[in-house]
Every structure is written in C-alpha cells, then in structure tokens.
Symmetry: C2
Subunit: 139 residues, 2 copies
Amino acid sequence: MMNDLLIEKLAARGIRPTAVRLLVVRVLAEADSPLSLADIEAMLDTAPKSTIFRALNLFLEHHIVHSFEDGSGSLKYELCDGEHGNPDDMHTHFFCEKCQRTFCFKAIQVPVIDLPKGFRMHSVNYMVKGVCSECESKG
Amino acid sequence: MMNDLLIEKLAARGIRPTAVRLLVVRVLAEADSPLSLADIEAMLDTAPKSTIFRALNLFLEHHIVHSFEDGSGSLKYELCDGEHGNPDDMHTHFFCEKCQRTFCFKAIQVPVIDLPKGFRMHSVNYMVKGVCSECESKG
DNA sequence: GTTCTTGCAAAATATTTGCAAGACG
DNA sequence: CGTCTTGCAAATATTTTGCAAGAAC
C-alpha cells in the first residue's frame, strides 16, 4: 500500500505520520507538477490551510519537500527526489505566462555555476518563463 | 546631467518622463542590488507605493526593467541591461538566507539550456540560495 | 499529564485596483 | 477639453501566527 512508503518516508526523519501529513505528502507525490498551498488546500477539502502550511514547513525543514517561487504569486512545493544532502534538488522550472502553469523539467540537468569566493550554495532554481508548447500551438 | 539620460531612456519607449517615473528609474539605476517595491517606496518618501507600482509595471511592459522573485517574499526589480530583445536579461541571482540580501552576479553568464520542443523562452532567472561570503565569514 | 498536533480565526505582509483630483498637451 | 497621471484609500491575495481544544505517547 502506498501509505506504507509515505509513512516510512516521514518516520525516517522522525516525523509523526499524522493523517493530514500523509495526505499532504501523497498529493505531492501524485502531482505531476509543483503545487501551491492553495492547490493542496483545494485538493484536500478536509484540512485547513494552516495545518497544511505547517505540514509543508515541517517537510521543508527536513528536506522532504522544497519550495520555489515561479512568478505566479504563490510559492510552489515539490517533493525532493532523493536522499538529503546539499545542495537541494536542482530543477529546471518553466512558467507559462499564458496558461499560468508551472512545469518541472526533471530531465533537464541544471547547469552548475561557480559562485564568487566565500558564497555557499544551498539550492538552485533555474526558472524559465515563456510560453508552453500547448499555448504556443494554440496561437 | 543624469536626468537627461534617463529622460531619453523613457522617451525612446514613448513614456512620458514624469517626476515620479524619473525618480524610480534613477534609484534603480543607482542601486547596486535589486530593489523591491517597498525598498523603492522607502527611498522615495514623496511618492505613494501605488504610483511607484504603476511606474514599475509600465517599465516592465516596455522592458526597461525586469522583475523576479528571490524568496524574500517580495518581487525584486532591476533595470534591464541592454536594448530590448528576447530573451530578457539573463542574470544569476543569489539570495542570502541569513542576511536576506539579494545579489546580482552580472559577471556570471547564465547557462542556457534546451527546452522541450515547442516551448518558447522569454526570460530566465538562475536563482541560487545559500549563505553569502560576509555571513559565511561571520560564522 | 505532558507534549505534539489541529482547527479556527485573525494578524501580518504584498500586490493590485477604484476613483476623484490634478497635470499635461 | 480630453487624456494621462497621481494620491489616497481600500480590496485582494498569500503567508503566518495565537490560542484553545483535541490527540498521541
């Protein structure tokens, strides 16, 4: 059962797998694109946004999810890929300015740059904005 | 005088160089880091934020400035470098999670990636988060 | 029973708009 | 005059917190 995997994932970080937390992790796991707090709230009409918010922040602390801003006006959350280490998952995200959807291009390797001396990197978001293929073909 | 250059810059795009607009362009031109609406408002205590906001949006439309989100919770604005064309200025930005400052690494070339077929790119923001050299040395 | 978690409401922060008064051409 | 711009206030949108009730250990 899927819940077992999710429970393990949380337990491995010492997080108690409460009902709401499992629901939040699950919608993130099943989503095919990054989700905002409002998105998740809409998908789980049982839980208030404050509880979801706190679950997400807890996951952020434990590097189970990461967040980024895509220009939509609201933070987007995504499950982290692998084991936790630094830097966090490095993704290429694309925000379509027409349909306002955000895509995560996992297949595209994020190019790494050299930072000036003394700067330490935690995470990278390669954020591209433009028009997605669907909107492009619609004209 | 500096104003002449700024007036030309606006006039070249058919934008009337009003007092507030000139002030806004000037603080952006003189700033050594990206500014938020609140930053600009604080620097120009004569103009209300709504007017500054509208000036910025006008500049955005005309590609005199570009904006991006750095994770601070508020949009940051920067003057565009050159003539307008696509894609917009491609910068590497660094957000320090300790001092909350945003750096613009103009010297670092943003690596270009190939998007999936059909996707058209307008702008890119290579957003790095971590700890800046100053905070790093302070421990 | 002590700590952790939830739900509701409301505070805090940012962005955006309505509208009447004023400036400009 | 007619259009563009400004200033104030207020509406929206989003994130975040306070607190008391409830659940877990």
